[in-house]
């Protein structure tokens, strides 16, 4: 099942000293970015991306995987020591990590999280390998009808699960799709909506849009919080005593193997499902751990089971979402949308043919994932004290530097200054969208999937002009049915929420 030749060449590429070093650097930056409240993993990935432009494919992608894996783990440090999750993936870690740290065991809290993240990540890694191969084979049976329906299903789930109203999510997704119709059309290479300017001939470049909508918008949000004196952005991590008996902590994690495996599976499942995202995985796993626990009363008061559940789930979630990206080319949430963007930048088009065409790159990604899981623990063990200082960098120092990196990221891919203005205007659009309650994830997904949706839609109709095939081909029909179900559920939930709000207002 595993091609030895491709595995050997992948191993040679990943274990090359230069590649290992950049992967380690990626893990370190991911850890720091994930730990700093206000700097999300998405933002960290965006900021690291331009540094990888000049690298070869495997090197660049291994670095990005390092950032992703490190970022998922970084959030737990601030979650335990400050009670503020560095990223949404560490929300449930605060529930027990912070009380445990306040009870005088900060080292145990942090290391329980780190070790369970490693074990959860490694178990999930096995699924990453076999799941991608298996799902990739399934995806090979897809025709343009199934692809179109799958993309529409993903977009509708993202829109309906987005914060705020589903209607606004759908609007955002449609606007994202419309943005991809500017420039040369993907089938006949005809110019569309260029308004006679050369600048628009190749369309809006997706990376500046991504950076503008996420990066710049995030900075404006953070600057507002900073001016309002938000404690999360001003909190400082004090140097704490984090020395522990590692064997004892590992024993504690492994003795609760049922919790570890259950939480890992939940994280994986949420990761594989398009659009649900890492922030749901840790909370769901935590909730299940409490329900199955013999000591549910200890949850919220420093229960080790709670930390293990949350951290193993969010690391497993990375593996799950990588499966979906690699096998189908579909991002699950904002972070994975940016990861997909990173792969595209490095000339990799994930999807059903990805494994067939790029077996060595796929293996390199698997290996990089495993190395990143182990490297995360090694980096944290080596420099946890320095790392705590890095978290305390004042935000007024950090924000201007981040904005410069955003500008370089938008510019450096094509060496076009005009791309930087795309970043600027989409930054303004992002701020307006947040202000008026429009979610950001659907517009990015629309921009990333737009050409693929159009390509498969037109291909399907050119192969057979009968549009009913979208409904009558079984897999395609099921996915379109699920699209309707997801929209219906979202409408029902919105109405129920509105009714409850009205009753509350009357009461």
């Amino acid at each position: 099942m595993i091609a030895v030749g491709a595995l050997a060449s992948a191993a040679a590429a990943v274990f090359d000293p230069g590649a290992l070093l950049s992967l380690l650097a990626g893990v370190l930056v991911g850890l720091v970015g994930g730990a700093i409240p206000g700097i999300t993993i998405t933002m960290t990935i965006i900021l690291v991306l331009p540094f990888t432009f000049g690298m070869d494919t495997v090197n660049g992608i291994a670095t990005m995987i390092g950032v992703y894996v490190g970022g998922e783990s970084g959030g737990l440090v601030t979650a335990c020591l400050l009670g503020i999750p560095g990223t949404p993936s560490a929300i449930a870690t605060t529930f027990d990590g912070f009380p445990m740290a306040r009870q005088g065991e900060p080292g145990r809290a942090v290391w329980l999280g780190i070790w369970s993240g490693l074990f959860g990540g490694l178990i999930a890694g096995v699924f990453l390998v076999y799941g991608t191969i298996w799902l990739g084979r399934l995806a090979l049976q897809f025709g343009p009808w199934e692809y179109f329906s799958l993309f529409i299903l993903t977009l509708s789930i993202v829109a309906s699960l987005s914060e705020g109203s589903m209607l606004k999510g759908l609007v955002a997704g449609t606007v994202g799709l419309l943005a991809t119709t500017v420039g040369t059309d993907p089938i006949m290479s005809v110019q569309r909506f260029t308004f006679g300017t050369d600048l628009l001939k190749s369309g809006f470049p997706f990376l500046p849009i991504l950076i503008g909508v996420y990066g710049v918008t995030q900075i404006v949000t953070d600057v507002q919080r900073l001016r309002e004196g938000d404690a999360r952005l001003k909190a400082r991590v004090e140097q704490a005593r984090l020395v522990v008996n590692h064997l004892a902590v590992i024993g504690e994690v492994l003795r609760g193997w049922g919790n570890l495996i259950r939480s890992t599976l939940i994280g994986l499942w949420i990761g594989v499902l398009p659009a649900v995202g890492g922030s749901a995985a840790n909370i769901l796993a935590y909730d299940q751990a409490r329900k199955w626990s013999r000591h549910p009363e200890r949850f919220g008061h420093g229960s080790p089971e709670g930390i293990v559940a949350s951290e193993s789930a969010n690391n497993a979630n990375v593996a799950g979402s990588l499966v979906t990206i690699m096998a189908f080319g579909i991002p699950g949430d904002a972070v994975t949308a940016v990861m997909l963007g990173a792969l595209l930048v490095h000339g990799i088009a994930p999807g059903p043919l990805f494994m067939t065409n790029n077996l060595d790159v796929a293996y390199a990604m698997f290996l990089a994932y495993f190395v990143a899981c182990v490297a995360t623990v090694a980096v944290e063990a080596a420099i946890l004290r320095v790392f705590l200082r890095l978290i305390n960098v004042p935000r007024d120092v950090l924000f201007p530097v981040i904005l410069v990196l955003c500008v370089i990221g938008a510019f450096a891919l094509n060496n076009l200054w005009a791309d930087v203005w795309t970043l600027f205007f989409f930054g303004i659009l992002g701020v307006l969208m947040v202000r008026y309650g429009f979610p950001l994830a659907p517009i990015i997904l629309g921009v990333i999937l737009g050409n693929q949706i159009e390509l498969n839609f037109i291909r399907a109709l050119m192969t057979n002009a009968d549009p009913r095939l979208f409904l009558t081909r079984p897999l395609s029909g099921i996915m379109l049915f699920l699209t309707l179900v997801s929209v219906a559920i979202a409408v029902w939930q919105t109405r129920r929420g509105a009714r409850a709000e009205a009753v509350e207002a009357e009461g």
Partner: protein, 153 residues
Amino acid sequence: MSRVGGGRADAGIALVLLALAGLVFWRARDIASPPFVPLSPAFFPKVLAGVLAILALILLVQGLRAPRRRSPQAPVLPALLVFGPLATYLLLAPVLGFFSATFLFVLAEGILLGERRAAAIGRAVAVAAGTTVACYLVFERYLRVIFPGGLIG
């Protein structure tokens, strides 16, 4: 960032979206259609414009029906603090050169966002100089990115 829910704002946005859908329909007429192709390149944008128009109409109706709410304070100042210096930076970089513009931008943004004390200003100068040198070494020297040169560089 504070969000604004429902009401007139949504109705206004819906009108903008309807105008956008109309613009797409109108401009789609000018898209060349190659011969012997059953589906014109204008087809997909038109479908999207149709979907957008329907969604915008629903948003319009919802917006008009929703009770009026007091809008929370708009984040005008934070947006100006980011986009003002950023626009100046983007305009200056091709004229002055990327690195001098970067130094000025990081310095200005550091002073605007930080506390206006002598120590804080000193720190902003150090951060601006450090960022500029690091960008030069990492991106121009090591990664071979060619930045706009301008008058000073």
